[in-house]
Symmetry: C2
Subunit: 247 residues, 2 copies
Amino acid sequence: MRRIRFTVAYDGTDYHGWQVQPGLETIQGTLERVFMEIEGGPVHVAGSGRTDAGVHALSQTAAVSLANPIPLENLRRAINRQLPPAIRVLTVEEAGPDFHPRHHAVSKTYEYRIFRGEVCPPHEWRYVHHYPYPLQVEQMMALAPLLEGQHDFAALAAADDRELESTVRTIFFSRLEFAGDRMTYCVTGSGFLKHMVRNIVGMLLEAGKGNLDAAGLRTFLEPGCARRAGPTAPAKGLFLMRVDYGG
Amino acid sequence: MRRIRFTVAYDGTDYHGWQVQPGLETIQGTLERVFMEIEGGPVHVAGSGRTDAGVHALSQTAAVSLANPIPLENLRRAINRQLPPAIRVLTVEEAGPDFHPRHHAVSKTYEYRIFRGEVCPPHEWRYVHHYPYPLQVEQMMALAPLLEGQHDFAALAAADDRELESTVRTIFFSRLEFAGDRMTYCVTGSGFLKHMVRNIVGMLLEAGKGNLDAAGLRTFLEPGCARRAGPTAPAKGLFLMRVDYGG
């Protein structure tokens, strides 16, 4: 069997997230159906991690094992021909037999896009969180880097992820940028708990509304914090930008 | 009655064009339904012109006559609250009682967007014509400005528009720009025949394939030309950018 590593971009709007779910359209399920047609037998698509319903990817990394000897470039073309236009395989390459996109990932980068103008452009409503209300932007920009470093992110995890053995993660980069009506939160980390990026954005929006300062934010990062930070920002503003692997 | 002039942006993907058609979702029909709810009676929305099924607008100009004294800013908010996110009213203003968006328009500007990369980004497939094949770009760029000026565009009109009293139109600006994998055709004119911009793009693509040179293009612009130029490029790459009025 060949191990094939590939990157895939998707518009998550009309999908129930990455992970296969019976009776629902998902990214992983759609990819597996198309790979199975080419392979002529069952294929498991392993991803670097799940994305929630409605979340997008500009470059998710995944892998499959295939017996079919089809050349890489033909494989990519054949897959894209059968996929819906909302899912596109960008690159394909041969990988070591043990390559696993989740276990071997060393970091992931996400972007969260907020549109602050009064009227959300009709060609963008699927891809931004429309938030046309007043915000203390400087406060939000000052707080974003405080998340960098190794912390216990239990307060920023979805309820079902707070039971994990460890909720400690390392964030390498956490910044908020803005230009005109557009605000973008960029974050790179060793890994993320369920809903973590959306909860960080929800927390930063609370800070922008004047409901949270730096001291308040730090209490959420204290080990064993039992409270939950901020609301979960909507899925549609979130993009998985890339997954990085060592070496 | 007040005469209200407004600009509207839309994603044409899921609509059967601008013009009301029984039993089909159209931009004009959707706007009329929403204005009628606010007015409490029938409202006619007049546009600067029709756009075909699948064609987009960043700024179409339209007008309505209303008895309702609702302030302009509240009107815009109320309309946008009821419209689907694929249609957004951008600006509203009081206009003279005789203002007519089609009769008074002095020029319209369109853009046609082509994506030439091998893989079309999943967040853009609704908004570009994906053409990943070889093209002689310099030839296309050289030919585009030859359309500027006053010409008989019968060869570039849809069949049912060739019966019009006059197929003479004036093009003020006609240029092709490209940057990396993106090619954009920009055109401003006094008015356009049905399918004219899409047929110009189809003709320029023929030139890019080596099937048409400057002399060939000029024969299509000769008065009374009975042949039809190029195929009609797909609707989804076309954007109505703005409509200009004198004064």
